[in-house]
């Protein structure tokens, strides 16, 4: 499984590195910023979903598909660039986020003394994400043309991408931004699940659906429904797991601050369920922890205990299991081919991930 995904990762890196879409972009540092995130690595889940859904539906290896897969990765990455501006994050995959990195470039250039480098970095990162959105569309079209897909179908694929990865995904992002400023008592679990389906599920669906479309053409019926069902549940499981790892994960393995969800009073399903089920005393203890500027390890221990004792932890764990099972079940519709085996292995892999 890891080997399979490693091969895909290499293909994506090569494709992104050699692509000429942004060759004439000016200034130079903006052009370089365009391929920065996509070359930093990451799980490459979306390209993998694309390739394996393609195989699942019977597609044969052919040139051009690596560009379609890279389109999904570039799309994912532009949303990260804009996300990092919105969240004011400073690190992404062990390096400064794009807006921080571009601010540094500006502060080292021979610009006017009135320069506000931080703002300049944000402005350029904004434009960087804008460029990458177009790059993703162009990559998809070029890849699909190279794969000799029917032009009519390619148009459908672009429109599918605009539906899933533009309107749905960005709605999810917006709902996430909104959830962060809503009063906790005004948020219910359904709202959060909807946000998850849009923010994470939609691009998973897009990757799987484009793979299926590239393979099946217009000859797609129930397969298409099943692959979307698979992707949606995988996305849910993935996101709920993130929430568990955010409080119960291992700092060393996760490489990110445990407890930041609590500090930022992030309205996860885990937290909302705890607030719903914990006893009065625990609730008052928990309310003293969430939103605290300096969360100690003993605070985290206390929060973990309350989340477990209230039954919320088990609730989320069983939701995750249900979602992975549903994803697996959706795959059972397909013949036992290489694509199916890889997607099943992916479920296993994600099920046991610690980061």
């Amino acid at each position: 499984m890891l080997d399979d995904i490693k091969k895909i990762a290499e293909k994506i890196t090569e494709t992104v590195k050699n692509d000429t879409f942004g060759a004439n972009v000016r200034p130079d540092y903006l052009r370089e910023a365009m391929s920065d995130y996509p070359l930093r690595g990451g799980k490459r889940l979306r390209p993998a979903l694309f390739f394996w859904s393609y195989e699942l539906c019977g597609g044969k290896e052919c040139a051009g598909l690596e560009k379609c897969a890279a389109a999904l990765e570039v799309w994912h990455n532009w949303t990260l660039v804009h996300d990092d501006i919105i969240d004011e994050d400073v690190m992404r995959r062990n390096s400064p986020t794009e807006h921080i990195s571009l601010a540094k470039t500006a502060s080292e250039a021979d610009f006017d003394s009135t320069l506000d480098a931080e703002k300049y970095g944000r402005d350029m990162a904004l434009l960087c994400g804008d460029l990458q959105q177009g790059w993703a569309v162009d990559l998809l079209i070029r890849g699909a043309r190279e794969a000799k897909l029917v032009p009519e179908l390619i148009l459908d694929m672009v429109q599918r991408m605009e539906l899933r990865a533009n309107t749905e995904l960005i709605s999810g992002e917006a709902l996430d931004v909104e959830l962060a400023v809503k009063k906790l008592e005004n948020i219910n679990i359904k709202d959060v699940m909807q946000m998850i389906d849009l923010k994470t599920g939609a691009l998973f669906c897009c990757a799987c659906e484009l793979g299926a479309m590239a393979s099946l053409g217009y000859d797609r019926g129930k397969e298409f429904e099943k692959i979307s069902d698979f992707a949606l549940h995988l996305g849910r499981a993935f996101q709920l797991q993130d929430d568990i790892l955010g409080t119960f994960g291992d700092l060393e393995k996760l490489g990110k601050d445990i407890g930041s969800d609590l500090r930022e009073r992030k309205p996860t399903v885990l937290l909302l369920k705890t607030l719903e089920c914990a006893d009065k005393e625990s609730l008052s203890t928990l309310r003293g922890i969430i939103g605290k500027e300096n969360i100690s390890s003993s605070d985290i221990e206390t929060a973990r205990k309350i989340m477990k004792d209230s039954g919320a932890y088990d609730f989320v764990k069983s939701e995750i299991k249900y979602c992975f099972d549903s994803a697996l079940n959706a795959l059972s519709f397909f013949p036992e081919n290489k694509g199916r085996k890889r997607l099943e292995a992916l479920i296993d892999y994600l099920n046991t991930r610690e980061k």
Copy 2:
């Protein structure tokens, strides 16, 4: 001429208003923000360029084209939404800019007391522009399909849009942002002209080229070159005129602050040429005015006089004339049809504009 453009404006407004691309976008205020700028009006120059280039190349009226034209207007508008965030502008077409308007919405909502409404407004406006970029692509595809253009050609049109309106236009925007923080002595007129060609010319070209493609299909030769040449020169003339109006315009007619270019020490061709040609004493006077926080009307008068006396004003005026003449000359390649007459009238109209 004004009647012709008015009819197009009405079509665009109708098309944008009735389009369903963003129907499921959440939250509601973000969905509404998507069509806000495109419904505020504006000159509708890009849709007009699309329609008239289509006619110029012999295209006949047909359904769907209004969506293609609207795609260009939506594209233009998303760049304005992001532009306004970058420039921290507060007004656009006599109403608050999108990020200001969304900040107001947030401040009136029942959100957490820690809400930073201004930042929230910027974040949502960023996502609004992201949505609109996808909307433009989808509109172009749907329009072209409705117009029954060959799918292969539609793919070419989308790719042309990604080239002109994504990489080129955004590079122009980035260069503009960079010019604003560069030291004046490090900027030359060529840099500014390149920025103009990318920031304004590229989308003008895109509009004209898509019109020509929709009309000519793959049967395009020298026409295509001529229409791009027309658009590029029209863009240059338009932008150089903006610079003249920015200092020499009439406040009442222009509806925007005269002298803001001077206050912001905007490196226009007009200013750079003045710095190049003015005598020492005038230069020192001018340097005392540019960048000043409170520019008085007597400052503006002084600057105008220096710009005229140095010959810079005449230089820019003659450049504008040269560009309009070149645009007109490019049109002379085409038969004297309705499209050509309208584009010629457009040149006249723009040539005498006071806002």
